[in-house]
């Protein structure tokens, strides 16, 4: 049985149609008009226990709304959600023990309490015994370096400190499923690395993770499954590596030769590849399909024609692929 299941999940927000200024507001009082905005449109999603799923999509695609529906914060307009077979509103208390949620844009820490005290309040709310609590904190401390921020007031935390503390808060009760909504937003590289390492340790312990991010570096090397949403609909749901194999087949080999080489000869030696001159006449770029030929074959072919000084291979990132999907260039599925 899947741990998270959504069937035809739909959320429609109703927004008042108001004209500009006070006049518009007054008019709205007498002639109430609304526009419906479909934020999530018949989403079917099924996540098995222990899976790590990346949920990506452009701004306003409905990512956060989906997370809020899957965690029971919002009531769907139609369709249904089950967490571990439970109804998120009817069995809210039980579901709360099984899920953890982090919204990168918003903290759950108390602004007027030190981090240690906020975590202690959560410990009591979730009914975690002290020994377990100490053990978990010690483990979080290893990766997140919590120790130094425990005595700091919520309002005095820097963004990176806050995110580390919030991650600990979201995972304190060892939830079976954790939703991470933009967990690296605004963080500097050093903190990002640390936070990503933490995700991996959480995943390796068997926690189901659903990660929403704009930063595609978060998902590469973390999730095996990729779900892409656009305008409230899922446009792709499948294996991340398969996407790369299918749409990121292209490799670019950059070469530098000792002397300018005749372009026509280079082209003739590599049918099926595309050879172009780069910024100087001794630098060339060779685009090829990695399933049609290997980088080794390309180098061998070129080495017979010119003296190679330097070579470098560029591999397109999943970022490029997803960007192309967003722009409508690629149609997945």
């Amino acid at each position: 049985m899947p741990i998270v299941e959504a069937k035809a999940l739909t959320k429609v927000f109703r927004r008042p149609d108001k004209g500009p200024g006070l006049g518009g507001s007054v008019k709205h009082l007498f002639a109430r008009r609304f526009t419906d905005k479909v934020a999530v449109d018949h989403v079917d999603l099924s996540i098995e226990a222990g899976e790590a799923v990346a949920y990506v999509g452009p701004n306003g695609a409905g990512k956060s709304t989906t997370v809020k529906l899957l965690s029971g914060i919002l009531v769907p307009t139609s369709g249904e959600v089950r967490i571990d077979g439970l109804h998120p509103q009817r069995d809210r208390m039980t579901v709360a023990h099984r899920i953890g949620v982090l919204f990168g844009q918003r903290t759950q820490l108390w602004w007027d309490l030190p981090v240690a005290e906020s975590l202690a309040v959560l410990r009591d709310l979730y009914g975690i015994d002290r020994a377990t609590y100490r053990k978990r904190l010690a483990r979080f401390d290893e990766v997140l370096a919590l120790g130094e921020i425990l005595p700091v007031m919520g309002r005095k935390l820097s963004l990176g400190q806050r995110m580390r503390a919030d991650l600990a808060a979201a995972l304190l009760h060892a939830p079976r499923v954790v939703y991470l909504d933009e967990p690296t937003i605004g963080l500097d590289l050093a903190v990002k690395d640390r936070v990503r390492e933490f995700f991996r340790s959480v995943r390796d312990e068997g926690t189901t993770v659903m990660l929403t991010s704009h930063d595609l570096a978060d998902i590469e090397g973390f999730c095996r499954r990729l779900v892409i949403i656009d305008e409230g609909r899922i446009i792709f749901d499948g294996d991340l590596e398969a996407v790369k194999d299918r749409f990121a087949r292209e490799r670019i080999l950059h070469i530098e030769t000792a002397r300018p080489a005749p372009l026509e000869t280079l082209r003739a030696s590599l049918p099926g590849a595309e050879v172009t001159v780069e910024d100087t006449p001794v630098r060339y770029a060779v685009r090829f399909d990695r399933f049609a030929m290997t980088a080794g074959q390309v180098v061998t072919a070129l080495a017979g024609l010119a003296e190679l000084v330097d070579i470098r291979v560029d591999e397109p990132s999943i970022e490029d692929v997803i960007r192309r999907v967003y722009s409508g260039e690629l149609v997945l599925g």
Binding site: K68, V75, Q89, M93, I99, R106, W110, D124, L125, G127
Partner: protein, 262 residues
């Protein structure tokens, strides 16, 4: 017992950080005492002109003033966060409340400690005590117990009205609790004998928003004053009804919650 214990835990967390602002604490407490003194001066001036209002003397009206102050005091001291509900809804603070294993309404109401409630409780207690001392009541253990039950019921009614009127914020989009505040002002009318008001207002205070059960009816029953004194006996039932209705309104409202940032 877990729920009330955790409630005090949540409140206590805020209480400690609030004590950092000692000056605020003292000023607020003094301001509240002053407000109640003004109320008493006003009452004394009124009753200097008339000996009684429909059979109600200065001392009996003082008990009603005390009951309202006491109920309000409890609400501010322990449930002041309710008044932040509109703001919490607007900012999307309920997102995290909804994923924690604790009642959402109680997470909201524990978000703030109204320290002025403390002086209202003390002043209200003094007013009720003084008023009762001047009344000619044949005290029996049963009557004393009933008095305590009526007092608890009146606090529950005030609390329920606060919760229900603040929960209206789920339907309105204003970030301030204007509706609840207006209703709170209406409640001040219940400090005077209901018999002085026209029928429509009696119906509002007695049934629609039963503020009269916080002060008038229970006091009328205890003092054996007025025409419909038996109504004071149903105060606990009214309290149960109000609590149920408020919980229902809140629950319905919560289903409409749309979070922020959409």
């Amino acid at each position: 017992m877990r729920t009330p214990r955790l409630y005090l835990r949540l409140l206590g967390a805020h209480f400690r950080s609030m004590l950092e602002y000692e000056a605020d604490f003292v000023i607020l407490a003094l301001a509240t005492v002053l407000m109640q003194v003004v109320n008493i001066v006003f009452l004394a001036a009124l009753f200097a002109k008339v000996p009684d209002v429909h059979g109600w003397t200065f001392w009996s009206v003082l008990i009603m003033f005390g009951a309202v102050a006491l109920a309000e005091g409890f609400c501010s001291l322990f449930f002041d966060g309710m008044w932040s509900l509109a703001w919490q809804i607007n900012r999307g603070d309920l997102d995290y409340f909804l994923v924690r294993p604790y009642p959402v309404a109680l997470q909201s109401s524990s978000a703030n400690v109204g320290i002025n409630g403390l002086s209202n409780i003390v002043m209200g207690g003094i007013m009720i005590g003084t008023g009762l001392a001047h009344a000619d009541i044949p005290w029996t253990p049963w009557r004393a117990l009933l008095g305590v039950i009526l007092l608890i019921s009146s606090v529950v009614i005030k609390l329920s009205i606060n919760l229900a009127t603040n929960a209206v914020s789920f339907w309105l989009s204003s970030p301030t609790p204007m509706f609840a505040f207006a209703m709170h002002q209406v409640g001040d009318l219940a400090r005077f004998p209901l018999s002085v008001y026209p029928v429509a207002l009696k119906a509002v205070l007695g049934a629609v928003l039963p503020f009269a059960f916080i002060s008038f009816f229970p006091t009328a029953y205890l003092l054996d004053t007025g025409q419909s004194r038996w109504l004071g006996l149903i105060t606990p039932l009214v309290a149960a009804y109000c609590a149920g209705a408020a919980a229902l309104v809140f629950k319905r409202g919560l289903r409409r919650y749309e979070s922020a940032g959409n």
